[in-house]
């Protein structure tokens, strides 16, 4: 009894019930396809989150005030117990001896203002006053025009760099460079336009305007507490050292002995990245688990249909045994039938998953994980062998005398 013969018998057996075979195959197809596709969706969304965080800048620390409100909205009561985050704090962070891993520190005063140009008005939710180093630290290059300089900050010149959304809202198709806009009564000259970043979640990162710190403080926020200090580490690898150095300097300056009572907090982009990556990993595992369950259900479908087939063909099995079919030949025939079902289903599922991953699903562009294809396909074959094993074994162990008597 050659393997080729066993294969031929199995194919004839499958061909005898084409619709049933096709439906069983469909179960595995859906299982394998959904494993591949859902893992790809999870992977795609994790890639998207990572790309968004990369856009924000990965070697960036955000120091913000805590223990009270932000900036000028903070209550006077809190001022008694906590110290403001000041420009002096920011300047103290740039210290080659105490903080060798800090490249720059940009104090940020932010507010929400209305801008007007030629009768058109728009609200800018993130109107930021800062130092020129902010552009590099937050990975915010200009696409046209130029940045403002330290000299602009010192002299408090009324120049402004606009985000793409603001430009579109105010100017439409007109080139905004060197145009004059009015922000809450103060005229600003547009000197640059930021490169578009796209939206991050709910906030539009392009609906922003950046002006010299002194100008913003003088015109809008006053010289009190800063909203944030953006610290740029020398590189992504030293970001944790930089965070420790910043903490030490600020603890000293704010006379904080117990870290639990700190009046500032530091947001680390790298830790944010780690957190989001682990979140999306959980997400991927969940999706994969759901898909794996459907693969399992497909496998049970194979067992079910093979049991029906064995029962239905009991008499045939009896005949085959009576004319001398060895146990192995019967076992092989039914095992190959089950494995073929799952193998075909698996192959079509891989194809389905691959094709499906070319479409954007709920806003996520799926990115196929090659190992998921190998895994899903391999598992489908194992499922065929495992779930087909019981019915095949049952067929092979039938006593010919009972099988022949079966009606």
């Amino acid at each position: 009894m050659s393997p080729f013969e066993v294969m031929r018998f199995a194919l004839v057996g499958l061909g005898a019930n084409k619709l049933r075979s096709a439906l069983t195959t469909l179960g595995i197809l859906i299982g394998v396809g959904s494993v591949i596709l859902l893992v790809a969706v999870g992977n795609g969304s994790s890639k998207a989150i990572q790309a968004n965080i990369d856009k924000l800048g990965t070697n960036m620390l955000t120091v913000s005030h805590s223990g009270g409100g932000f900036g000028r909205n903070r209550s006077a009561n809190a001022a008694a117990t906590t110290k403001d985050l000041t420009v002096a704090d920011a300047q103290a962070l740039v210290d080659p001896y105490a903080a060798p891993d800090v490249k720059s520190a940009s104090p940020v005063a932010s507010t929400t203002e209305n801008a007007v140009y030629a009768g058109v008005s728009t609200s800018i939710p993130a109107f930021i006053g800062t130092y020129p180093s902010y552009f590099e630290a937050t990975n915010n290059p200009v696409s046209s025009g130029t940045y403002f300089t330290n000299a602009d900050v010192t002299s408090g010149r009324k120049v402004i760099v606009l985000g793409q959304t603001v430009v579109t809202n105010l100017f439409g198709d007109i080139d905004p460079i060197d145009k004059q806009i009015t922000v809450n009564g103060t005229p600003f000259t547009v000197i640059g336009v930021l490169k578009a970043k796209g939206s991050t979640g709910f906030t539009d990162a392009d609906n922003t305007a950046i002006a010299p710190l002194t100008t913003v403080q003088q015109a809008f926020t006053g010289y009190g507490s800063l909203s944030q200090v953006i610290v740029e580490a020398n590189n992504a690898a030293t970001i944790n050292q930089a965070q420790a150095e910043v903490t030490t300097i600020l603890d000293t300056r704010h006379k904080i002995t117990n870290p639990a009572n700190a009046d500032f907090r530091i947001l680390n982009q790298a830790s944010l990245l780690t957190a989001s990556t682990s979140t999306s990993k959980t997400f991927t595992v969940l999706l994969g688990a759901v898909a794996a369950i459907s693969l399992l259900v497909g496998g049970i479908g194979i067992t079910n249909i093979m049991l029906v087939t064995v029962t239905e063909r009991t008499r045939e099995i009896g005949i085959r045994k009576a004319i001398g079919a060895p146990r192995g030949a019967i076992l092989g025939q039914f095992l190959v039938e089950a494995t073929l079902l799952s193998l075909i289903g698996g192959a079509l599922g891989v194809l389905g998953g691959y094709v499906g991953s070319h479409f954007t699903i709920v806003g996520v562009k799926p990115v196929i994980v090659p190992s998921s294809i190998a895994l899903a396909f391999g598992v489908s074959v194992v499922i065929g062998l495992f779930f087909g094993g019981y019915p095949a074994n049952r067929a092979a162990s039938l006593r010919p005398i009972d099988a022949l008597r079966y009606e």
């Binding site: 045939e316 085959r320 009576a322 004319i323 001398g324 079919a325 060895p326 146990r327 010919p400």
Partner: protein
């Protein structure tokens, strides 16, 4: 053992065969000490009413069932001690089964059905086809090789089954009510084939309850309640089967 001795060896040797189903008070004694020897070339009809134990005896002879006690030698081999894998080999090589319900594999051509025992015996495709065609030719179905069972009449299906039983050249042809599902004409055809096979020296055991069928055999064994009550020889083991001889005589007269 020499070849000559092998030829003289009986095909079936059954001694003190007992088969009991169940245990204790509910036990059914299907066979109560049967002794039966069938020589090579004999044509034996085993008769009996239902419940007489003839089906049990048939299953035992066909190696589909094992005795509770007693001895069974098929073609000189004691089969009681064989494992399942060896039994399937014995069934494949030494016994050709013919069933009342034909028992061909559905949706499979006559040729493929006849080839099946050879496939399980591991014979190559070319040789298999040649032997299957020869067997089909012997039963007069050379023009029906590509027909599936549902395209054949009952008589033709049973002839395919006979060809399948013959194709491995077994020591014993074992037929269980082979004409039970056939009309008179088909019965006549199939029994004619059995007569010819017997004439060519095949050993045949046929289970039946019809006297007309049994009259073709050289020897009639009657079973009642699991015991042999009569064992009548109608023709010599080495001679032609009785009905074939009379048919030939009739043909000669006319």
């Amino acid at each position: 053992m020499t070849a000559g001795q092998q030829d003289n060896r009986p095909v079936i040797e059954i001694a003190a065969a007992v088969k009991t189903y169940g245990e204790g008070e509910t036990a059914v004694h299907a066979l109560r000490g049967v002794d039966l020897v069938v020589e090579r070339g004999d044509y034996v009809a085993i008769m009996g009413a239902s419940g007489s134990g003839k089906s049990t005896l048939m299953n035992v002879i066909g190696c589909l069932d094992v005795l509770t006690s007693g001895l069974y030698r098929l073609d000189g081999i004691d089969v009681s001690g064989l494992a399942e894998s060896q039994l399937s080999l014995v069934r494949n090589r030494r016994i050709g089964f013919i069933f009342q319900a034909f028992n061909l594999i559905a949706r499979t051509t006559a040729l493929a059905n006849v080839e099946l025992p050879l496939a399980y015996a591991g014979i190559k495709a070319g040789e298999r086809r040649r032997r299957a065609l020869a067997a089909l030719d012997l039963v007069g179905l050379a023009d029906r090789v590509d027909h599936e069972p549902n395209e054949l009449s009952g008589g033709q299906q049973q002839r395919v089954a006979v060809a399948r039983a013959l194709v491995t050249a077994p020591a014993l042809l074992l037929a269980d009510e082979p004409t039970g599902n056939l009309d008179t004409k088909s019965t006549h055809e199939v029994l004619g084939i059995f007569d010819r096979l017997s004439l060519s020296g095949r050993t045949i055991v046929i289970i039946t309850h019809e006297d007309d069928v049994a009259s073709h055999a050289k020897r009639i064994v009657r079973l009642v309640d699991g015991e042999i009550i009569t064992d009548v020889r109608q023709a010599a083991v080495s001679g032609p089967p009785p009905r074939h001889a009379s048919a030939a005589a009739t043909a000669g007269l006319s």
